[in-house]
Amino acid sequence: MIDATAPELPLSPRFATIYGEPLTEIPVDLYIPPDALEILLDAFQGPLDLLLYLIRKQNLDVLDIPMAPLTRQYLEYVELMRTKNLELAAEYLVMAAMLIEIKSRMLLPRPPVVNEEEDPRAELVRRLLEYEQMKKAAQQLDAMPQVGRDVFAVSVLVERTALERLPDVHPRDLAEAWRSLLFRARMTKHHRVSREELSVREHMSQILRQLKESRVLEFTELFDPSLGVPVLVVTFLALLELARETLIDVTQSEGFAPIYIRIAHVEPL
């Protein structure tokens, strides 16, 4: 915001003294040579920005905008722009029209009674202040450190080669794989198994695993009565199947002697 008490300024800037006469009496920093204007224009975001610039350069209170001289100077700039840069002119001309309208309304004598009538400058002031607020906010935002511009996210490589990332498998994936096998009709009837046979085959694996550890097992060691009759039966079927596939040897020295189970021994070739 403008501070009229800023030391380098006259106590209360009277626009009349600044604008009393044309350009020659305008303080030096207000005068923009036409050549420089073109460059300067790039720096303006639009008519509000230019207007703010003019006001700020003259250290005028936004709340107390001197419409006549401001409008005149604005129009001079717009005229310069119009000749130099037609694209920009439209938006600036709208603002010029607005300024002229305000100026003319202020020149009209007003009935003193109407207190609540709004100051014709009010809307412009509101817009100028809102724009200035956002303009400053934008400068502050721009001054904040941004990731990718001023600061950089740390990104340490996750070493994956040493330990392969392992896929998850769900039982339904197995079913899907089986389905695809069936679908390709590679399967012979020979390979179809039912649920019960699966249980036999599971026990076949278990028995083989046990035999791998202890080499020889007594027949009764393979049975755990606490698991119930079905398991006992399945285990027995598994033993029979293993024997049939000659994966195990079953030996008994004499009747009622212990029965021993071992991995089928194969003569070295």
Binding site: M1, D3, A43, G46, L52, R149, V151, F152, A153, V154
Partner: protein, 202 residues
């Protein structure tokens, strides 16, 4: 709960190797054991403290925690990658700040405030950066899109929430505009930030 030093080691590695900020919920998932949010937060604070002397810091943003280099480190990066990182134009930054402070807003709202047309490219630049997105449509003719800032915008500015944006300067005075002519523009504005030339410098 596992050994806190070990937990910190793991959190540190997770944060260092993650592409995105990690929330407390993300960090909890690192561990099979239950780790309470208070414990986690305390360990994160300890970690932040442990890193405070280095050129990389641990920050807490809208989406979670992340390690990033400190701003002072920027000149060194530039020496490493001499291609300058572009700054956004004033038009983009003004549009962004209007969306940030006034959200949700339409492109028309932005144009009203800026007093100038806002090109589609400006909106697009901010959208493709992931800083703004469409959160709805205003129920007016044409149903214009309403824009708001994203979490990623807050993350990239190192903010926890919009509350942490720099506060806007007061504009309350506009409402008390005195009728007509010259006020003695005296010192009622003493508590106003005295920056007469601040915006005149461009």
């Amino acid at each position: 709960m596992p050994n806190p030093a070990e937990v910190k080691r793991i959190i540190e590695a997770a944060l260092l190797s993650s592409q995105e900020p990690l929330s407390l919920a993300d960090l909890k998932r690192l561990f099979e054991e239950e780790i309470g949010p208070d414990t986690l937060r305390r360990l994160l604070d300890e970690l932040r403290e442990a890193w405070s002397e280095r050129a990389v810091e641990l920050v807490n943003t809208a989406s979670g925690w992340r390690f990033q280099t400190k701003p002072e480190f920027q000149p060194f990066v530039e020496r490493l990658n001499p291609d300058k990182r572009p700054r956004y134009s004033r038009a983009v930054m003004e549009t962004l700040s209007i969306i940030a402070y006034r959200q949700p807003v339409t492109r028309g709202d932005v144009e009203d405030i800026r007093g100038v047309a806002v090109s589609a490219q400006i909106i697009q630049a901010l959208e493709s950066r992931g800083w703004i997105d469409v959160v709805g449509n205003r129920d007016t003719p044409g149903r214009p899109a309403l824009y708001a800032t994203t979490k990623s915008f807050l993350d990239d500015l190192g903010l926890l929430s919009l509350q942490e944006l720099p506060p806007l300067e007061e504009i309350a005075r506009t409402l008390q505009l005195e009728p007509a002519t010259a006020q003695p523009a005296s010192n009622e504005s003493a508590n106003e930030p005295a920056a007469p030339s601040a915006s005149a410098s461009q």
